[in-house]
């Protein structure tokens, strides 16, 4: 008997179903093990193929996913990856994303259960992004690439099926968001004038990594007219000055996604750190744009040292310190950038792809069982 067959002997580890796509999908819907879309039946053979790319013990949890705090074993994760339509070689990156989002600073319990519409956004850096053909260019956040679509979907299925993010039970989001189906991209390192996100966050350039952010959907920043770094950065900062985001009340780390054309224009005048400072100083909301109750109950309390008696022209900032702003370069041609606010009570987590013995992985083939 194979090792997988032995694991599947355990009570509740497998379920009998008619060998038929429609029957399996009906069963999954009945059990609530779906995001609403049809799933690929997680047969023993398909799960075994997925686990070929796992160098850890298949029955040992790599994380616990809130709010159910379900144990995410490679075996359960593999079933969800199959259901989402992943290729087996995607599996190491999917496992890494789950591990990263379960680290404490991200506050996945809050991200999962809140009434806010956030979802974990995964940005992939390093050579594995190209190896797996993760889209970082045109329509990177949209449809068209299997890796983006299915690794992102596998994450959501794990958050539902292992973590219990069930609408109105473990996921209390007032209305959710399309990003809760799938939310995974790569940074467009080739078109970026600055160092990649994972390098800025302390990892070697040759590492492959994920950065996870408890994020809203991207909000577009159109600027077809600016000719200078100051111009494009001013438009981005102006777009961020909105009243209804959580980040104005938290020391959080929201994200600016710069399209390559905007990024190159900005980099002609500024380093990444200087661009962050420029944006932070100008991305603000005048207190006069906030409701009286928000001023009394939030602004005067959160910023009591600076705004105990605020005047209408005083400001609250979209991001509290320059170093708290994340910038990534993503997308194809076009004069657009995007602002991605966060849940607020969450911090990004960056984690490198490593084999079980702790070495930086050069390729997903490093995980393949021999």
């Amino acid at each position: 008997m194979s090792k997988l067959a032995q694991l599947l002997q355990a009570s509740g580890a497998s379920i009998e179903a008619e060998d038929d796509f429609d029957s399996v999908n009906a069963l999954m819907r009945e059990k609530g093990w779906s995001d609403g879309l049809p799933i690929v039946p997680p047969t023993e053979a398909r799960v075994a193929a997925m686990l070929e790319y796992c160098d850890r013990p298949w029955d040992q949890p790599i994380a616990k996913i809130p709010p159910r705090w379900g144990e995410a074993t490679p075996l359960l994760l593999a079933a969800n990856a199959v259901m989402a339509g992943c290729q087996p070689r995607y599996f190491p990156l999917f496992m890494l994303a789950i591990e990263a989002m379960c680290e404490e600073p991200l506050n996945l319990y809050g991200v999962q259960a809140t009434t806010h519409l956030c979802a974990p956004l995964v940005i992939v850096n390093g050579p594995v992004a190209k190896e797996l053909d993760i889209n970082s260019g045109h329509n990177a956040f949209g449809p068209g690439h299997q890796a983006n679509a299915t690794i992102g979907r596998a994450i959501r299925l794990a958050l539902i099926n292992i973590g219990g993010a069930i609408p109105a039970l473990g996921d209390m989001s007032t209305f959710g968001s399309p990003a809760k189906y799938s939310y995974l991209v790569a940074e467009n390192e080739d078109e970026s004038p600055w160092e990649p996100l994972h390098v800025e966050r302390g990892l070697p350039r040759e590492a492959s990594a994920v950065t996870v952010i408890g994020a809203e959907c991207p909000h577009n920043v159109n600027d077809h007219e600016s000719l200078t770094a100051e111009g494009v950065l001013t438009t981005i900062a102006g777009t961020m000055g909105i009243a209804g985001v959580n980040d104005i009340y938290y020391q959080s780390q929201p994200l600016v996604i710069m399209g390559p054309e905007h990024a190159k224009m900005a980099a002609a005048g500024y380093t990444k750190a200087e661009a962050k400072r420029f944006i932070q100083q100008r991305a603000h909301v005048a207190v006069g744009k906030l409701s009286r109750e928000n001023i009394d109950r939030r602004v005067k309390i959160t910023f009591k040292d600076r705004l105990a008696n605020p005047k209408p022209d005083d400001v609250v900032y979209a991001v509290q310190r320059p170093e708290d702003l994340l910038i990534a370069v993503i997308g194809g041609a076009g004069k657009h950038s995007a602002y991605v606010p966060t849940f607020g009570a969450t911090l990004p987590v960056t984690r490198a792809l490593k084999t079980a013995d702790g070495r930086l992985a050069k390729s997903v083939e490093d995980f393949r069982r021999r």
């Binding site: 709010p67 039970l169 473990g170």
Partner: protein, 72 residues
């Protein structure tokens, strides 16, 4: 709260209506399925001071009743 409850202190969690199921599920997850949940009207945000007072008046008798039960 679950840890305080396990230590034998009288504890309760206050939930508004739509969050009762989440509260019950979390109590089970943390091994205190009988953790008392005190239900108050939703919402918690965007209510006047008078409405906050009214919610306290709904919660306090439930907690007093709980304390009496625990001390009997």
């Amino acid at each position: 709260m679950a840890n305080l409850s396990k230590r034998g202190l009288t504890t309760a969690v206050i939930c508004s209506g739509p969050f009762m199921k989440l509260g019950q599920a979390q109590a089970r997850v943390f091994g205190v399925p009988d953790l008392p949940l005190l239900q108050i009207p939703h919402p918690l945000g965007g209510v006047s001071i008078e409405q906050v007072q009214a919610r306290a008046e709904v919660a306090v008798p439930q907690f007093v009743k709980l304390l009496k039960e625990k001390t009997q």
